[in-house]
């Protein structure tokens, strides 16, 4: 059988990857040099790079305060996602009357954009007394349908006999979830963590609606405030973007193996 060479595929993939990375590299280069993006000819390597734009960003706005706020909100979202989505995913992996209708309802909720539900979400948060609080910011993201289905597909792969054996041993449903199923679903957990973290870290509209104090603002709001205060500082603006991107990038790089495994689980039969 004739084997085709792999190098054309690798070459094409390398080329496409480079194209995808160009905007990111451009942002990084501009944050180190501050050069005009319309400079011609454009230079690939930064000329006279320095870190002073990062220092400008650190002192121009209360960056550390915004960072702490984002970390707290993201931590609440990630923890809530793992607990609530595991429970929802377990219930969807069991058989019960009306299961198909529930799944269709969940899937149809994914079609509704968040902007449509923002007014009732605000009224509910206000009635709960959670306006201008960390929990109020985290509440809409505490459970996401995509991540519920990630857990569901992970739990579906666990043999039913294992769950039955646990039930015979006297474990309740809650203990079955957290003692038996969750330890076997590391990929699903990693996927939940990454998706929940990225969505909460980059969330702009909801914190903008419910936050009143500047001290409670998160990084995306801080970036918006930075833009309104400082109009023409490309280097500092791009430095801010890098500082906002960095935590999410680190989390993804650490958990990428489990993340990709979690997304592709069940994609191939056998």
């Amino acid at each position: 059988m004739h084997r085709y060479p792999r190098w054309p595929i690798h070459l094409m993939l390398s080329f496409i990857s480079t194209l995808m990375l160009i905007p990111f590299v451009w942002v990084l280069k501009t944050s180190l040099t501050g050069e005009n993006i319309f400079t011609y000819p454009p230079s690939i390597l930064p000329e006279n790079p320095h870190l002073f734009y990062y220092v400008d960003v650190w002192y121009s706005i209360p960056f550390f305060r915004y960072l702490i706020n984002s970390v707290i909100v993201s931590a609440i979202v990630v923890a809530a996602n793992i607990v609530l989505n595991a429970m929802a995913g377990y219930s969807l992996s069991r058989e019960f009357a009306g299961k198909k209708i529930i799944i269709v309802l969940f899937l149809s909720c994914m079609m509704v954009p968040f902007q449509v539900t923002i007014i009732p979400a605000y009224l509910i948060t206000k009635e709960l007394g959670l306006l201008n609080t960390y929990l109020g910011m985290a509440l809409p993201l505490c459970s996401t349908i995509v991540c519920i289905f990630v857990f569901k597909s992970s739990f579906d792969a666990v043999p039913k006999s294992l769950i039955d054996a646990a039930r015979i041993d006297g474990l309740s449903d809650l203990r079955i979830i957290f003692r038996v199923l969750v330890p076997l679903s590391q990929s699903a957990i990693a996927t939940n963590i990454i998706l929940a973290f990225i969505w909460s870290w980059n969330n702009f509209l909801w914190p903008l609606v419910i936050i009143r104090d500047q001290a409670m603002q998160t990084l995306p709001l801080g970036l918006s405030r930075f833009l309104t205060v400082v109009e023409d500082t490309t280097g500092a603006l791009y430095a801010f973007c890098i500082m906002v991107l960095l935590p999410g990038l680190i989390i993804f790089l650490l958990a990428q193996k489990q993340f990709i495994a979690g997304l592709t689980r069940g994609a191939a039969k056998g």
Binding site: L51, V55, D56, Y59, S60, V229, L254
Partner: protein, 125 residues
């Protein structure tokens, strides 16, 4: 179990970040006396006594004067206790001239700065 926790990539990554942050903060604590020291010379290289040196803070928006001092017989000046991170220095002496304004970027507020080049006063026309 302890070994698996310590050699975990999350522990190593976040532990390294925490360690670097601690080392940096110690360095800042040791070097944030807010000292800016330098020398003012004339165009022929001779020191300029009683020249006025103004230290300003330059932010992304404005430049605001923060302190003022005069040079000694050797043309040397020293500011202490400043809390700026972007220093803007100008020196002048009535009847002699004015040095071109220079800015110096620092890595943190109040970082000590010893100017490697003197501020050279040029005759005003």
């Amino acid at each position: 179990m302890l070994r698996s926790v310590l050699y975990n990539r999350y522990t190593i990554t976040f532990g390294t970040i925490a360690l670097l942050a601690m080392v940096w903060n110690v360095y800042v604590m040791v070097n944030d006396d807010g000292i800016v020291a330098g020398r003012v010379v004339a165009s022929d290289g001779s020191p300029v006594e009683n020249a006025t040196v103004v230290l300003s803070e330059k932010t992304l928006l404005v430049t605001s004067p923060r302190d003022k001092t005069t040079t000694d017989a050797d043309g040397r000046f020293k500011f202490s206790g400043h809390t700026v991170y972007h220093v803007y220095l100008e020196a002048y002496k009535n009847g002699v001239g004015r040095a071109p304004q220079k800015d110096y970027h620092l890595y943190f507020r109040g970082q000590n700065l010893n100017l490697s080049e003197s501020l050279q006063i040029e005759k005003t026309q």
